[in-house]
């Protein structure tokens, strides 16, 4: 029976996931392209539709966040036995509830409490 301490005496860094030079360069090029596109779209005003521009800008942002997560933060379903991914998913759920909930509630508050909505003057 071997000593359980054996093999741990050598000093080695904590098992952080890490990438290769290839990863960083690929991530950088993708991120640069995904930054350039939305800035170009907004600064040139190439599309007259504001809605379309906003939608494309949003798509680029989501894509760039994923690029950063994969190539710079080295996210993968296997990292830490999947716990980093689970905590990320949990955070995104809480984040969506907080942000979408806030915007939704405040939008309706706003829409229903504007002075123009008070059709009936308060009775004396």
């Amino acid at each position: 029976m071997s000593d359980p301490h054996e093999g741990h005496h050598e000093t080695h860094a904590a098992p952080f996931p890490h990438g290769t030079k290839q990863d960083y360069v690929t991530g950088f090029i993708l991120a640069a392209i995904l930054t350039a596109i939305p800035f170009f779209l907004v600064m040139s005003g190439i599309f007259s539709s504001e809605r379309l521009t906003a939608f494309l800008v949003l798509i680029c942002a989501v894509a760039q966040i994923i690029v950063h997560m994969v190539y710079f933060l080295h996210m993968s379903p296997k990292a830490e036995g999947g716990w980093t991914l689970i905590s990320l998913v949990f955070t995104i759920i809480v984040l969506v509830i907080a942000v979408v909930g806030t915007v939704w509630v405040m939008y309706h508050m706003d829409a229903n409490m504007m002075p123009g909505m008070m059709t009936e003057p308060p009775a004396n």
């Binding site: 952080f16 830490e80 942000v99």
Partner: protein, 208 residues
Amino acid sequence: MSTPIITEPTDPRVFHPEEEPHHPEGHSTPLGFWIYLMSDCLIFATLFGTFAVLGHRYGGGPGPKELFDLWLIALNTAMLLFSSITYGFAMLAMHRGDQKEVMKWLGITAGFGLAFLAIELYEFNHLIHIGAGPGRSAFLSAFFTLVGTHGLHVTFGLIWMAALVLQVRKHGLTSANQRRLECLSMFWHFLDVIWIGVFTFVYLMGMI
């Protein structure tokens, strides 16, 4: 009154391992630091939510189109993106064990980080100077809080980086220092991810 519970050494019922399994020091740091980053992410989520609600309340003051210069923001974004890849090069050098190279890339990263902060402070100073300070309107309060919090994170990242440069210079690339550099790496890349949200929702969406 109470009777001490005596556990016989021969008691076959074992409620815990006699010896904790040995874990190398810092084995739980990556997950722990990741969870810290997720909590930080929620702070930014609330600030983004606040900005989403207040971002159109100009109070008769100037709006994004009168205030923001997208060329400046593009330059700022480039600084942060460059600092991300140069930090990546520092990590690659660290895995090779090349201390000199690590110091070089950390220095370059800090340079880009400082340039980012300088541009942001210039922008804030300019806004306050033309009377568009955080007190002007709800939009500007939310703007300064969100962007300022990100800027503070970058500031603390730079202080952390300076501390690690001194540590590495003094003790070399020990396993503890490598772990610290890995944590700062996650922190730094995470700030870049938050900045994507800032330039998209605050600057680009405001200018459309």
